[in-house]
């Protein structure tokens, strides 16, 4: 079943503070991803891999093209969806995991991780149970669960963000270097999570730089050549 269908996507950035310079990043980009696939984007730095993920998430606004996502049994174009629809797609169908945790003052770790599953409609005990399971698996010491992660180490914050990203079991998952700077043991734990999500039927698009993770998770590679600077 097709879950993501990117069609003829164009994305440029116009830098008004730099005299209106135009940076082309994506040109005529197509990408289709089926349920149960993990597609790893491949290309040099600057090829637009992160930009593509952000456009699929509805975070960046392309100049033209479509990003169809399976939501509520149909395909919805997130490019033209209104803000409330985008929020709904993200709440129920679409997850996005980076290595950076956005800390909210005073909110304890366990609640940060449980929040996406709660937002999807799960009951509080079930969401907390799933969050605890993930924190346990990612080896975040139990004594930290009730504390806000503002003062935790970078590696701990990263793993908490991964736990949060996998908590709701979204049908579509976008991963932007989820394993960057993790040690080998933790990286293998994350590889396990990605693989399980895929086997459950999630459609996954990932950016990963280390060969081990790429080989372990990819069912297909999608090459992204660098664009010639046309500005």
């Amino acid at each position: 079943m097709r879950m993501i269908d990117v069609q003829a996507l164009h994305k440029t950035f116009t830098l008004h503070l730099r005299g209106g310079a135009v940076l082309p990043v994506l040109r005529n980009m197509d990408l289709a991803v089926q349920a149960g696939e993990c597609v790893v984007l491949q290309g040099p730095s600057g090829a637009g891999k992160s930009t593509l993920l952000r456009a699929v998430y509805g975070n960046y606004r392309p100049q033209s093209g479509r990003v169809l996502l399976r939501h509520d049994g149909g395909m919805v174009d997130i490019v033209t969806a209104n803000p409330r629809q985008v929020i709904d797609i993200r709440r129920r169908s679409l997850g996005y995991v980076t290595q950076f945790l956005r800390v909210i003052p005073r909110v304890p770790t366990l609640d940060i991780v449980a929040e996406p599953l709660l937002a999807r409609g799960a009951a509080l005990p079930r969401a907390r149970e799933r969050a605890a399971e993930l924190l346990e698996r990612l080896r975040i010491p139990r004594k930290l669960w009730d504390l806000p992660p503002a003062t935790f180490s970078g590696g701990e914050q990263q793993r908490i963000n991964i736990a949060r990203g996998f908590c709701a079991e979204f049908p579509i998952l976008l991963l932007d270097e989820p394993t960057a700077s993790l040690d080998q043991d933790n990286r293998r734990i994350v590889i396990g999570l990605i693989d399980e999500a895929r086997k459950r039927g999630s459609a996954i698009v990932a950016i990963v730089h280390d060969a081990e993770t790429r080989t372990a998770i990819a069912t297909r590679l999608a090459p992204m050549p660098a664009l010639e600077a046309a500005a």
């Binding site: 503070l17 509805g58 606004r61 929020i87």
Partner: protein, 260 residues
Amino acid sequence: MSALEMPLLNVEGINKSFGRQQACREVSLELWPGEVLGIVGESGSGKSTLLKILAGRLPADSGFIHYRSTEEGIVELLGANEAQRRRLMRREWGFVQQHARDGLRMGFSAGANIGEPMMALGQRDYGHLRNIAKDWLRAVEIPEERLDDAPRTFSGGMQQRLQIARNLVTHPRIVLMDEPTGGLDVSVQARLLDLLRRLVHEHNVAVILVTHDLGVARLLADRLMVMRRGQVVEAGLTDQLLDDPQHAYTQLLVSSVLGV
């Protein structure tokens, strides 16, 4: 369409001038149940003027404000008579001011500040009012034993939290907020922000939040509107607007702050 699929507020073509200075130019917006709409811009952008017009504290030169009231159906507020407008505001709206002293009765006790809006709605049972006030003090993290103290003996952060309790106690559907974290220390701000986030969510209240602080907007707002010289220059989902700003002025605003 069910009531949840309709906007609570539909504002169209608001204009307002002070002499030759145009403070609001053809401003339109929608507000949906339970969402937080942030209005950002520098001082003089017209965002506070717009908020005052929405609150009925300043007349507009032209435009419409359609409000979908629980009890009275859709009411056009700029054309409504004063009695009806005041009634709706009292029952269904709240207004959190930047300076708590403008939104509180500084000579009354904390308990009376929370009880008064309930009394205005006809609640007369003194014991009951006192219990509600205690519950709300707890909800906004003010020790219960301060119930009979006047807010002028409170810290700035406590005063602001008391003002929020006073505004939420009647379970309004819309709360307007004008720089609610404005004059507070950063650590006090963080606590207030977390509290606001939680209360807005728990009570499913729709908020229009005026702020010049993009960090506050990022944390609280679902959608943003950017105003400049009385006009809306860009509007959209909060993260779209802050991460991929399209308009030159939005790019300038975003590039002028660190790490939002």
